[in-house]
Structure formats: structure tokens, C-alpha cells
Symmetry: C2
Subunit: 408 residues, 2 copies
Amino acid sequence: MEHLDIPKFLGLMVIMLGVAKLAGVLAQRISQPAVLGELIAGMIIGPSVLGLVDPNIEVIHLLAEVGVIILLFEIGLETDLKKLLQVGGASTVVAIVGVALPFILGYMVCWFLGLSNLVAIVAGAALTATSVGITARVLSDLGRLQEPESQIVLGAAIIDDIIGLIILTVVAGLTQGQEVTIFQVVKITGIAFGFLIVTLLLGSLIVPLLFRFVGQIDLSGTLTVPAVILAFSLAWLADQAGSAMIMGAFTAGLLLVKIPQAHEIEVSIAHLGHFFVPLFFISVGAAVDVRVLNPVNPANRQTLLIGSLLVIAAILGKFLAGYAPFWFRGKKSVIGVGMIPRGEVGLIFAQMGLSSGVFNARLFSAITLMVMVTTFIAPPLLKFLFPAKHPGQEPPEPEGIEDLVTKP
Amino acid sequence: MEHLDIPKFLGLMVIMLGVAKLAGVLAQRISQPAVLGELIAGMIIGPSVLGLVDPNIEVIHLLAEVGVIILLFEIGLETDLKKLLQVGGASTVVAIVGVALPFILGYMVCWFLGLSNLVAIVAGAALTATSVGITARVLSDLGRLQEPESQIVLGAAIIDDIIGLIILTVVAGLTQGQEVTIFQVVKITGIAFGFLIVTLLLGSLIVPLLFRFVGQIDLSGTLTVPAVILAFSLAWLADQAGSAMIMGAFTAGLLLVKIPQAHEIEVSIAHLGHFFVPLFFISVGAAVDVRVLNPVNPANRQTLLIGSLLVIAAILGKFLAGYAPFWFRGKKSVIGVGMIPRGEVGLIFAQMGLSSGVFNARLFSAITLMVMVTTFIAPPLLKFLFPAKHPGQEPPEPEGIEDLVTKP
């Protein structure tokens, strides 16, 4: 383990935050989501290209994990359970089919390639989650957020996120165990649901009282620190209960949505997120071994083959899911394409598979390739199918987007 | 070096942030500054009492250092150089005498006790800095912020902070070198002033252009990350130039005060500060070995003797400085008492002395005792000499206080 002195640590932070910001802005300049730029920047400064940042340094690894915990806390804080329940049938059908189909197709690809059952399950799971942030951002930039197609996509993407988190918990349990039995799957699903239900029920009684009490005794303070403490505590508790840490952080977000100071907390956590979240994406990018994607080397062709097949499974699965609500009369192609970008959660699966030893470097790179291609392909496709309504319109502020997406 | 897994790291963060918040609120409840509560909480959870948190764990140490860098960046962001120049003669005289007198008295105490020249200089330096945050907060709580006495105190405290930072840079250089010559002192003072002047001159040309450019290319983003990058970069640069890292962070703050988005940046950095700054105070508290303050053990009497003499030197030096602007017709006692709390910068000296090996654990504890007593004694004394103008008045929000203090 490398020892870091303070100036060297500050230098690393400047490099990571600097290239993340720069690459994010460049990506947005060419109409791509910022996260794509951060991933590519991570790849470039990582050990396989420039070697400026090693994601295995303990403090970098810990801060990156804080980044993903804060990201899921933010997603929780932006998720309105009531609105979710209002969006109705179409969103639910799209979400369920949009999880099942890519999983089955991804599993079949792995099975066809002779990979093990556990690897096929984790790889299939990595194909299930839609990135609600990217989709919402693109639809908003096109001025199409209030169209029925967009509403279905957004509702489905939010439901998808919750299903994805449960799958993530199941998969996290599976990657830690040795054997995959139906009993184990049921047990882990039970713990995931149980943790979510117990925490939501107990939490919705205790958390509002707790935060009212904190607000009363701490006249001069802000709620940033109590909110972070809640997120970290539930992440720790989820881990102790055998569930996924990010599940705890997400639940902490859901619990705080309802309290009067929710918006204030959302803004505070967003500021922490600006600092911590890019460290996660840079670390994930840095973990990609770019060399295994080089097609000139014959040894890499297997990675590229798996990656290409997973890309096809990922795109086809979500695209067909758009046609599942057969009664809907709008542009069904838009729904499916809107569900294609995988983003954060797909990367979390990839990272989990790698760090638990279920994936080797090649499969990790193939999954990352799938995440990058799906994230990259969706914005131009959406633009083509669903042209901007008001072409001259300025894109609104990101905070405004989130408000439109999740608040009535 | 202890290895930390993620749940254990989250647990440590929950403990540190939780007790810091709790102790801060409790301190405020008994009309004491929050920082005092955080220090005491750190002492209690540190290795010498409960042993819950070890400040020597690498990631804790690095995050605590990020905390002090962000704190000084915040102080810089709240320092209005123009306002500083307007407050005129009285503030300057109070500041200069209020630095010189405690330094001389502190040096004499150490000399009297037979300590070395270097130790006496560093200990004397630790007695020089006034905590502008604590003083401003107390005066505002008393509804007395606009009185001439308060204006002099606040002006002097801000000048004092800058002189303190230069002394800090000199002392940081001295603690790294072996010999203390006049040439060295002049050279280090030259580097400190040189770094400040060159960075301020070059920076005031480049930074506004840079941030206007960043604001133009990054329509959707916030300036949190660019601001942090600037602070970390100048901290790193200051270290490379042979100056103190916190001097670089403070200069970064001064450079951003003038740009149009200064308030937005101040709010963002305050949110990061809520998370990182308590980690610094908890770490400093945890570094105090409470056992050496136990008077029952005869071996500790020397620590308590040094501590008591330093407390007297610290209080007397600042109190007499209040009488330096002899032409001022207001309550001179209020000025001196307002300058007594040492707070953050005093602790940074103590920490620097300890980590460089200039101070042993006893002297470190004696200095910490001095910081704690001066921080603790000032609020009740000020209340006694300068009773609240509107006793029923609600204390204003902290952000409001800072606005009153540093903005026209």
C-alpha cells in the first residue's frame, strides 16, 4: 500500500477533479452526458494509459466509495414514491420487461459463451438498470420532458432504479457466497426487501421526529451533517444486515424526501456530490484496462466479442421493452431508446463483479464497454427519433431538471 | 498503519461527525462556541480516553488536513481586503501590539522555564492569532456588532489572521530547518510575503478570467469543483514554494472574493466545510493526551505550570493590546477581551509543533490548554463587560453574521 503525504494527496485530488471537470464539460460540448467524459478521463489517467492515478490507493478507494454512497443518497432524495405510484401501468410494464429482457438476453449471451452460472447472473444483472439521470437530462435538453413518452420513460427509469437496487443487493449477496441456490436467492431477496421495508417503516416514524428534534436543538446549524450521518449509518447498517451499502444510502434519501427541510438537504448533498461523485467515476474509469480493448492483439478479440454481444443484448432488451405497453398510442420507439443508457448502476455492477473476483479484467472491461456504448448511443438516437421541440431553446439548469422530473 | 475497510471507515465517519455535531450543539447550549465542544469531544473519543478514533490513521489524517485547508479557504473567502484597509489605524495598532505582546510574553515564559529558542518561538507564535470566527459570533449574539469597539476588534482580528498566517509560514519553515538565523527568518518571511504578493498579483489577473471562462464553457455546472481545485492547487504550490499549505488556501479565498460568483462559491465551500472542518477539530482534540493534564500525578505538574503561565501570557498580552489605540474614547477593555479567543490558528500551531517534533506531548497539551482556556473565557467575559443590547433578540443565522462582518 502506497503512503501518501498531504501535498501528494492534494496533487492527486487536483488531477482527478480537474480532468473529471474538463472531460465532463468537453463531453457536454459534443452533446454527451458528463459522466461519459469522466469515465474516459479516468481511463486515460488510470494505470493502463498515463498511470497518473492508481484507484487501488486506500484513500482514493475509500473516497470513491463515499462518492457512490452519496450518489445513491442523492438519487433517493430525488425519488418521489408518490409520483412513482401515480405514473401507472405503462411505466411499470416497461420497467419490468426492461429489467427481465436484458437480463435474460445477457444471461443467454454468457451461457452461449460457456461462462459460469454466477458470472452469467452478475453480467445479466449489469444489463438491467437504466440511468435516470442521463435520460432525464437528454429529454429535458430536447424540451420534450412533458410529452407522454417522456413521462413513461422517466417513471419506468425510476422503478427500474429500485428494481436495480434490489437486484444489486441480491447480486452483492451472491458474489460474497460460494453456491447459488434458490433458497439463497430467496433469502437474499428477503433480506433486501426486508431491509427496505423495515427501514422505510421504522425510518418514516423515527427520521422525521429525529430531524425535527435536530432542527429544534441546533438553531444555528445546517442539516448537512445530520443527513450525511443518516446516509452513512444506514449504509453501515445495510452492510451489517447483509444488504448492499448503497441500498442503505438510497433508503436514507427516500426517508428524507418527506421532511420539510428536504430541499435544503438535497442542495447540501449536491454540493458534497460535486466533490465526491466524480472521484467514483474517475476511479471506475481508471480500473478499465484499455489495452484489452485493442483489436490488433488477437488475445483481446474474446473481450470485444463478449462486449459486442452484451451491447446488442443491452440495446435490444430495452428497445423491445418500449413496445410492452401495447395499448399506448405514442411513439413506442422513443420509450425503448430512452431506457438504453446504463450509466452509474451498470458501473456499480461491473465494479462489484471485479472486486468480488466474479469477473476477471476482460469481463469487467466488456461490461464497461457495454455501459459506455449504451450511454453514448442513446442521446444521438433520441435526438433523431424525437427532435427538439424548440430548437433555439437554452438548456435549463440541472437542478431545474430534477425538479421537473421528481417534484409535482 | 491500520487497514480500513469501507464499513469500518463509514463507522468512524459517523462517530466523528456525530460527536462533533452533538458536542458543538451542547457547547452552544451553554453559550460556548461550537469549536470548543468539538475539541472536547475529540479528546473524549481519542486514544487517551475512549480510544474510538485514532487520528494517526492515514485517511483520517488526510481528511483532517483537507478540513483545515477548506477552513482557511473559507476564512479567505470571508476576508474583504478593502474593508480591512478602511477600518484604519486603531485596528492596525491593536493587531500589531496584539501579536507582538503575546509573542514576547510567551517567549519569555518559555525562556524563564529554560526551554530552547526554537520551542520558545513556536510557543510564542501560538499565542499570537485571534479567532475571528469566535469573536464575530459572540459580538453578533450580543447584538453589538455595529459598535465602534466591535468594529475595531473585528478589523484587528482580520489583520491578526493575516499576520498570524505569515508567522505560521515562518514557523513552518523554522520547524523544518535545523538552525534559526536572522537570515533564515528574513528569507522565510520573504518567501511568505513573496508568495502572497506574487500569487495575489498574478492571481488577481488570471483567476477572474479563468472563472469567467469556466462559467462560460460550463453552462450546466457549478463552481464548487473549480474553486476546490484552485484552493488545493495553491495549497500544493505554497508547499512547493516553501510556504505553508494553508497560506495557499487562504490566498485562493482572497482571490475569489472579488469575482461575481463569490457568494455562490462561499455557500458551496461552506457545505464542504460542514463535512470536513469538524474532522480537523476532532482530530486535534483526539491528539491531546488528557492524562498529562491530571494534577494528581506529580509528573504532570510541569505541563500544568507551563499551561497556566501561557494562559496568563495569552490573556494579558491581548488584553493590554486593547489599550494601544490610546486616542480611542470607547471601552478599551472590550477590545482586548474580544481579541482573547485563539481558536483554529492557535491549534494549527500546536499541531505543527507536535508533528514536526519541536513540541513534545506535554508542551502540545499545554498549548492546547491555553487555546481552550482563552476560547472558553472570552464569551462570558465579553458578556459581562458588554451586556447584550437587546436581550430578547434571537441570535441571527451564522451566514448572516459573516455577511455583517465582512461585506459592506
